[in-house]
């Protein structure tokens, strides 16, 4: 499964458990969880597969924090699609 951004957004990360994300495609500003924000930072205007993302995230995230990374990731990706930030190929 490939995921891509409609348009590369901007992120404000104040080091809290939520981040602010501006999506230029819809013009909307979202308050995202820091995890979703971290997922968004992985996209740099290029498509990524779920496997790519799991690999990248597992390097950075302690498995004690998120036991089932793939499941958490999938539900975040689906939410990001609902918000029109990501689309599925």
């Amino acid at each position: 499964m490939m995921w891509r951004v409609h348009s590369q957004g901007r992120l404000y990360d104040a080091g809290e458990d939520t981040v602010v994300y501006f999506d230029p495609y819809s013009g909307d500003t979202h308050l995202l969880s820091d995890f979703a924000g971290y997922v968004m930072q992985q996209f740099d205007n290029r498509p990524l597969s779920t496997e790519d993302l799991v690999l990248r995230l597992s390097r950075a995230i302690d498995s004690a924090d998120i036991p089932d990374l793939e499941e958490a990731l999938t539900s975040v990706l689906e939410e990001l699609v609902l918000l029109d930030i990501l689309k599925q190929d």
């Binding site: 230029p24 495609y25 819809s26 013009g27």
Partner: protein
């Protein structure tokens, strides 16, 4: 004061010679006529934005930002509208302002839009409406009388608004209501569409001009008369360069659509107000004999309507002319037996809602 907004639109450089009183007047006129965006972009195009005082230009800059934002929102919203139409296998065909903007045409430069207009074939309209409702659009509060009126006599369904986006979508099935007199065969419009983005279409160049002229002379929105005429002027200067056969087929296309009357007025007034260059004889070719006969009276009425909607621009009898045009446009849209109850009802409802609101 011896200048008018239309002269500044044609010669934006002259704005640099205006004193503050004249600039104040210019801004008022541009705002009232909804031409602030167009003027702002004309000024920027010739670099006058940097020569004007920043205190003045900030107002034009603000109009440019609004226009820019509308253009961006339109990209997103038309994608969403397309998704809804895709679900029932219909094409997205944009009309008027939305078409000008998304196609990136000169007529869209600085054009403000207040809603998105689209057209679908009449026999698909119910399915299309249901599809939009499924995609988060809803019919606003509309009283049963207006709803019935729209559906029975209109050329569009009641406006839809999007729950999240706060925009209005007008879904048309024709460019004129069935009661208008000319019986436009809307299926002809779908034969000559132009694809402006993948899966997104506009009417052909000729049909866009004819539609714009029709809208101008049938809708009764004369308070935006100058803006609509500016649209026509921009198109009539631009389209012949896109299509070398543009002029040849224009009148015959209008005949096919039974809209030569509107085209005649559009060409005539665009030329009179904005000096639009037209091929020789085309105005006469579009005119019927009675129209040439009535021309002096119509010129009297319309040339008043096309001044900016601003008291200092009013010629004597402007209000009378606007009222006559309002009646005229209703008369053009409906047979007389319908006209009287509708106007009476409209006036009554307007008074009620104002009193309720106060």
């Amino acid at each position: 004061m011896n200048f008018l907004l239309q002269q500044l639109l044609l010669e934006p450089r002259r704005s640099l010679d205006l004193d503050n009183d004249q600039l104040n007047l210019l801004l008022s006129q541009a705002r009232c006529s909804r031409l602030m965006g167009a003027l702002a972009l004309e000024l920027q195009r010739i670099g006058a934005d940097e020569l004007l005082s920043p205190k003045v230009d900030r107002h034009f800059q603000s109009a440019r930002l609004i226009h820019e934002k509308q253009k961006r929102d339109l990209v997103y919203d038309s994608d969403k509208i397309k998704m809804a139409l895709d679900s029932v296998g219909e094409k997205l065909v944009l009309l008027k302002g939305a078409a000008y903007l998304l196609a990136g045409l000169p007529v869209g430069r600085g054009r403000f839009i207040s809603d998105i207009d689209i057209i679908v074939p009449r026999h698909r309209i119910d399915e299309v409406e249901q599809a939009f409702i499924g995609f988060g659009w809803e019919t606003g509060d509309i009283d049963p009388y207006n709803d019935r009126y729209y559906r029975k006599w209109g050329h569009e369904i009641p406006p839809l608004t999007h729950r999240k986006r706060e925009i209005t979508l007008d879904v048309h099935h024709n460019i004129l209501p069935p009661t208008a007199g000319p019986n436009v065969d809307a299926s002809l419009l779908f034969d000559q569409l132009i694809e402006i983005r993948p899966g997104i279409f506009t009417l052909s160049w000729q049909d866009m001009v004819i539609h714009s002229a029709t809208h101008l002379f049938h809708e009764g929105e004369f308070h935006h008369g100058l803006r609509d005429l500016w649209d026509l002027d921009r198109m009539l200067r631009d389209f012949p360069e896109r299509d070398p056969h543009f002029w040849e087929g224009l009148v015959s296309r209008a005949q096919e659509l039974q809209l030569t009357g509107s085209l005649f007025h559009g060409l005539n007034y665009s030329q009179q107000v904005f000096n639009t260059p037209l091929p020789e004889g085309i105005v006469e070719a579009a005119a019927s004999r009675p129209q040439m006969f009535r021309k002096p009276l119509m010129d009297f009425l319309f040339l008043r309507a096309f001044r900016p909607d601003h008291p200092q621009c009013e010629l004597p009898l402007t209000n009378l002319a606007l009222n006559l045009l309002y009646l005229r446009s209703h008369y053009l849209r409906m047979p007389l037996y319908l006209l009287l109850p509708h106007l009476a009802r409209k006036a009554w409802m307007r008074r009620m809602s104002k009193e309720d609101g106060a």
